[in-house]
Every structure is written in C-alpha cells, then in structure tokens.
C-alpha cells in the first residue's frame, strides 16, 4: 500500500548520499568531503535545491499535504547526511505516534461518536467497529444520528439487522442529539458496553451545521469522538482535521478506503494536523476490513 512513499524516501536518501560522496566546491584548497559537513543543508546550494525540489514534488504527488511536505523538507535539511534514515524515522514516528487512546477501557457504556464530511464512510466504519466489538463479546447499541440525508436511517438499519445489533432511531428531520440521548439511556438501562453514535456528514465550513454537531456532542458527552477521513482526500484532509478538531474536538481518527489508496499521504497529513492517534484503517467493504493502526508497521513500510 505504501510502496510509493517508500521509494520517495529511499530516493532522497540515495541522492543525499551520492552528493555527500563527491568533493565539494572548488574554491576550497584541500578537497574536503561533504560527509564531514554536519547537516544536509550545507550541501552545495544547487544540488540541495534539486534534491529538495524533487522530494517535494514526489511527496505532493503522493498526496502528502503541502504544509507537511514543507516540514519534512526542513527535517531533511537539518539532518546529518549519514543519519538521514534515523532522522526521518524519528520524524515520522513523532507524526504518527500520538498518545494512544484505549477505546476498550472506560465506564460502561463507552460512548463513541463518529464525525466527518459527507461520503467518507462514517456509517460503514461504525458498522465495522460494531462488528469487531461484537466479536470481543461486547454488547453494543447504535444511534441513527444522521436524520438529514435521504435513507441514512435505512442504511444504518440494514447494518443493524445484518449484525443483529440494537438500533435507536427517530424520524427524518428530528434532533440527532435526542437520538444519541435515547441510545445512551437505552444502553444504561440494558447495561450495554458501547453506544456508537452516527452523525450526518457535514461540511466542516458550514458553521450552522457544525453547531448542530456540537450539540450532539454536548448532549451525549462521548468518551471518544472519532473523525473519519477518506484516504483519497488531498490537501483538504488537513482542513477537515483542523476544523473538526477546533469546532467539535476529536480524540482519534479513522482513515477509510485505505485499500484504494496507493499513496498514503493522507495518513501522514491527518496525523500531523490533528496530533491525534489514528485508530484504524478501513481496508475493504467487508465488516472484517477494519485494521488496527500500527505506526511502527507503517513506518517500516515507508522507510
């Protein structure tokens, strides 16, 4: 999945290595070797520029957002040529390993609310997580909080029926905060382990819609609010992460459709912007296709 990023990073390392082996600037009396230079940015200017431009273009091609690309370039510039791999590894680790959260711990019922823009796969992801929790012998109730989009309730209901999980729903146009509230009350009464709250896909730039979402959160007081992002998203991934983070507040991220993503850039961009852990990757259309995210695995795949 992340083969393309790997080749980007190995190429920049090779390029730096190649340049550091060559003798530098003619003006110096004794031919010195760049390997003696302490950091990459001391390379001959034109060479450095070329290497970094190439890197920038390839990172961008692989869907890494512009702001993150700039930062990775800085990291490389300030790294010692020989330790480039190590420095990059540390940087990526810093980006990808936010403080972990444990969605399996907490007072019953544990409430998880899903937010994100339209069409990223919130409902499908919610159903996948419900199915995985079920496998862990947890009792779950789902809240059909998207009361806006046509057939959103039928959609989550189809999952609920397939998985034989209780669903709390109201009618279209009703208050989604009330749906969430009822689901929580239901979970308390039946002593269930989890309440999974679906919400309507919302354009994060629309303040009125975000206020509605904020109300659902205020009423349901979720233990975890999870932002769902489509892996194919370009530079907007950063804006989505930022605005949902600011206006709603999130504890973790799930990236969907990772099976369709050859580039992997969104993973890095979103992790960087939110500073929150990526919990799962959606990797297919079946319920089982929700993989726990492991930063070390990803870094191994990239470097």
């Amino acid at each position: 999945m992340l083969g393309r990023l790997k080749s980007v990073f190995s190429k920049v390392r090779k390029n730096v290595e190649k340049e550091t082996k060559k003798p530098v600037a003619k003006k110096e009396k004794k031919p010195s070797f760049v390997s003696k230079l302490n950091v990459v940015k001391n390379l001959e200017k034109s060479k450095l520029k070329k290497i970094l431009e190439e890197l920038e273009e390839e990172l961008l091609t692989n869907n890494v957002a512009y702001s993150v690309t700039e930062e990775l370039k800085e990291t490389i510039k300030n790294s010692k040529p020989k330790e480039l791999k190590k420095t990059l590894e540390e940087k990526l680790k810093e980006i990808l390993s936010a403080e972990a959260i444990d969605i399996y711990k907490g007072d019953k019922p544990i409430k998880i609310m899903f937010v994100g823009v339209n069409g990223v796969g919130k409902t499908t992801t919610l159903a996948k997580l419900a199915s995985q929790l079920q496998k862990k012998k947890k009792k779950v109730v789902m809240a059909a909080g998207d009361t806006f989009r046509a057939a959103a309730i039928e959609q989550i209901q189809a999952h609920a029926e397939k998985l034989k999980i209780n669903l709390i729903k109201h009618s279209y146009g009703s208050d989604s905060a009330a749906v969430a509230f009822d689901a929580i009350e239901h979970a308390k009464a039946k002593k269930l382990d989890y309440v999974l709250i679906d919400t309507a896909g919302r354009s994060h730039a629309n303040e009125d819609l975000m206020r509605e979402l904020e109300k659902v959160k205020r009423v349901s007081k979720p233990d975890f609010t999870i932002l769902v992002v489509d892996s194919l998203t370009g530079n907007d991934a950063v804006d989505q992460a930022k605005l949902f983070g600011e206006k709603i507040g999130i504890e973790g991220v799930i990236l969907t459709k990772a099976d369709a993503d050859e580039r992997g850039g969104a993973i890095i961009s979103v992790a960087h912007e939110t500073g929150k852990p990526i919990l799962f990757l959606g990797t297919g259309q079946e319920y089982k296709d929700l993989k726990e995210f492991n930063a070390d695995d990803i870094i191994k795949q990239i470097l």
């Binding site: 273009e57 961008l60 091609t61 692989n62 869907n63 957002a65 512009y66 823009v117 339209n118 069409g119 990223v120 796969g121 806006f148 989009r149 046509a150 057939a151 959103a152 039928e154 959609q155 209901q157 189809a158 999952h159 896909g201 354009s203 994060h204 730039a205 629309n206 819609l209 489509d230 194919l232 998203t233 370009g234 530079n235 907007d236 991934a237 804006d239 989505q240 605005l243 969907t256 459709k257 099976d259 369709a260 993503d261 050859e262 580039r263 850039g265 969104a266 297919g284 259309q285």
Partner: protein, 452 residues
C-alpha cells in the same frame, strides 16, 4: 469555496506586478506562486507545472496590448490559461433525444445519488419529464435513498430492492423508460475502480447505452483523482464531470485535473447538501471569480431569479438618480438574501473580490441585515418611501414596534445615508470602472449594466 486559497494567493502575487513593464522577476515569482497554489489546491503536479510554464512564457513573450498595464496583461494570460484548463465555454448537456439517458458513475461517497436527485430537480424545473433509476444494489439502502429523493421531488422512480443484478433491474423497466424525456441512472460505487466494479459498470453501460455519462468526483479528492478518472473513462467513456462538495474547504483541483485528463468538461458543481445546491459550471465565470475580476453573469442571473423585473427596474432607476428610499434598501436586501451568502455574492462583484473582506465581517453584516429588516417591517409604507420623514417620535415608535434597540435604528439610518452617498458616487462612473468594463468586454463578459 473552491480554489479559495488559489484565489487569495493569485491576488497577492498579482499585486506585485505594479510597475509599467512586465518585470521578468516578478513574473517568475508569480508563476512559481501559481504553481504552488495549484498544487496545494490538489491540481496534478504535471498539469500545474505546465500551466505555470505557459503563463511565464506568454507573459514575457507576448506584446502588451495598448492601454493595458503589465498587471492587466498578465491577468489576461492567467485568465486564458486557466480557462483553457477548465474547458472554456460552458456546454449544455444535450437533452433533445427522447429519452435522453444520463448515467452517473463514481467511487463510494462521491455523492452520486444525491447528485442524481439534484439533477432531477434541476431538469424538472426546466419542464422535462423525468425518471430516476437506481441500479446500485451494493450499498445498503441505496434504493431507499434515491426513492426518498424521488418522492420528495415527485418524480417517477424505478428500481428493485430485491434484485442483485443491476442489468436485470434496468432491462426490466427499459420499456417504461421510453415514455420519459430524461432518464437519470444511478450506479454503484466501490472504494476503488476494481475489476468487479469495472465489469459491473461496463455491463450496465452496454445495457443502458446512455448518451451522457457523468463521472461524479468529490471536490476534496487529491492526487488520486487523475488515475480514477482515467480508469472510469477507459471503462465507459466519460462525457462530463460533476464535482461535488465544493461548499466546504475542498480545493477542487483534483477533480479539475481529472476532467482535464479525460478531456471531459466539468458540467456541474455541487455546492451544498440541499437538492437545489447544484450549479452549472461556467469556466470563464469561475476563473473571473477566482482572479477577483468578479462574475457579473452569474450575479445577474442570480439577481434576476431573486427579484422581479418591475421592482428591479424601479430600484435601478432610483439608484441611478442617487435617490433611494428605505423601500429600495429593503428590496435590495431581500434580493441579496435570496442570492446566497454574502461572501459568495461579494466575490462575484468586480473589484469586491480583490478587497478580501474578512468573512467575520460579512457574517456580521448578514446579522445586521436581519435586524434592519425587522426595523423596516415596523415602518409604514409612507415612511419607507420617504426616509426624510424620520423624526424622533417615529424612531421611538419603530424601535418599540420592532422590539429592537434604538442604537440599531440609528445604525440603519446611518447605513441608509451611506448607501445613498455611495449610489450617488456610482452613478457618475469612475475611470477605473470604465477600464475594467473594457477589459471584461474583451473577454466576452457581459457589458456592465447600470444597476451596479
């Protein structure tokens, strides 16, 4: 809005071109800025590089036409290159054949079904007899979703929730569909265009033989857009593109480069979750808007939808005389409100886009307008037509009647006076205004009418 940041950085970069001559360095900087902003708007790297290169080459090589400043010269070239990219002229989807079949294809979550509903609403308004057909048997409740939309729109709907084979669904209703003028066919998506989906849409395509095949792409899709579009194009031969979710911060560049890659034009853009939030995509107008040149055509279209002819003429006449009343102010505010959020409208007014008015200020203005409306609702018709009547006792009565604060009433009067002054200034056209008009006219933009 789409390419918002591109718009901002373009405006900033263009500001640097102030000297009379086309400065080589400034142009190079501008082009590197253009490249950067195109890429951060998700335009494919290759495309962004080509556009920037072309602009640089042309700006330096081509002669500056008489009377134009270096900046206007460069803006023109940027304008032309960007419209080239986006497909120049807007072309209506042909709908003369009966039935015209329009098929929507795309990945999961790009917004196909919602768009099907939006298209149905748009063409129903234009008097077409329409059928909506659901062939998505994959996603749970896809059938119910389109059916609910069809019910709301009172449009005939075909599908079969029990059948798994999309081709069978279509063939079963094929005969019935011949009675319609426009048949809109929704299809299933997948995470990616895999073999399974390719086979499926190829077989639907064969059965349907649609004249128009529109690829629906999410406005926030990144560098994967081009490849996605190419593979859909290979499978069914895409005739056009619809870019959705452009009401947020989505950059739209991915979808735009996808359109360029398939040589298919962007026909529509989706700008909201409601069913009427679908706009025809007019490249020239769009580019004018992001370059801060305004988009008078769309503005006028919206204005003519929002205001009836008689009121418009009366208001225009009063404005020309520099003599407006509360009634005119009221009508204008009402019309403005119907035209959409103030920010969007402001971007369409030539010159306004360049001023970069902060969003919070526009929001505040929207709030103010609400209050002023309450106040004016408490005035008599006579008072509204003759603002000069306003005196202390009338003000007190209006404040009480509307339940607003006296300061708000004073604000309204102040606003009215300012507007009156501004209108007077406008009626004697400034030189700059005339030159902008010339530039616009040359680009095929409509001539500036007296109203604004």
């Amino acid at each position: 809005m789409v390419l918002d940041k591109l718009s901002d950085s373009l405006k900033n970069a263009l500001k640097k071109l102030t000297s009379g001559k086309v400065d080589k360095e400034a142009v190079a900087e501008l082009c590197s800025e253009i490249k950067k902003s195109l890429i951060s708007a998700d335009v494919s790297i290759e495309l962004a590089r080509n556009i920037a290169k072309n602009i640089e080459k042309r700006a330096l090589k081509e002669k500056v036409a008489g009377g134009l400043t270096a900046r206007e010269h460069t803006v023109n070239i940027v304008y032309e290159e960007l419209t080239n990219l986006l497909g120049k002229e807007f072309k209506e989807i042909p709908t003369e054949t009966k039935p015209t079949k329009l098929m929507l294809v795309g990945l999961f979550g790009s917004g196909k079904t919602t768009t099907a509903g939006k298209l149905a609403k748009l063409y129903k308004k234009r008097g077409k007899k329409i059928a909506l057909v659901q062939t998505d048997t994959w996603r749970p409740a896809a059938y119910a979703q389109l059916k609910q939309l069809a019910d709301v729109l009172k449009i005939d709907f075909y599908g079969d929730p029990k059948e798994r084979n999309p081709v069978k669904i279509y063939n079963a209703v094929k005969k019935d569909l011949e009675d319609y003028e426009l048949v809109i066919i929704d299809t299933a998506g997948r995470d990616a265009l895999n073999d399974e989906l390719t086979k499926e849409i190829e077989s639907i395509d064969k059965a349907v033989q649609a004249q128009t095949k529109l690829l629906v792409l999410s406005g926030d899709i990144g560098q994967a857009a081009q490849k996605t579009a190419e593979s859909f194009h290979k499978a069914v031969g895409v005739t056009g593109v619809i870019v959705t979710k452009l009401d947020g911060t989505a950059k739209g560049g991915g979808a735009l480069s996808a359109a360029a890659a398939t040589k298919a034009k962007v026909n529509f853009i989706g700008v909201g979750e409601k069913l009427d939030a679908l706009e025809e995509f007019k490249p020239k107008n769009f580019v004018s808007r992001i370059l801060g040149m305004g988009d008078l055509e769309t503005l006028l279209e919206k204005a003519s939808e929002a205001i009836d002819q008689e009121t418009a003429e009366k208001t225009a006449k009063n404005i020309m005389k520099g003599d407006i009343s509360f009634t005119d102010l009221y009508n204008q505010m009402e019309a403005l409100k119907k035209m959409g959020p103030l920010g969007q409208v402001a971007n369409m007014i030539p010159g306004m886009g360049k001023m970069n008015i902060p969003k919070s200020q526009l929001k505040e203005q929207e709030e103010n307008m609400k209050v002023w409306k309450y106040l004016m609702d408490s005035m008599t018709v006579h008072e509204k037509d003759n603002p000069s009547l306003m005196n202390e006792s009338r003000i007190q009565r209006i404040v009480k009647g509307s339940g607003r604060a006296e300061t708000e009433m004073r604000d309204l009067i102040k606003q009215y006076k300012q507007m009156k002054k501004m209108m007077k200034a406008f009626s004697g056209k400034s030189k700059k205004f005339a030159r902008m008009q010339k530039l616009m006219g040359k680009k095929g933009m409509p001539k500036m009418p007296g109203m604004f």
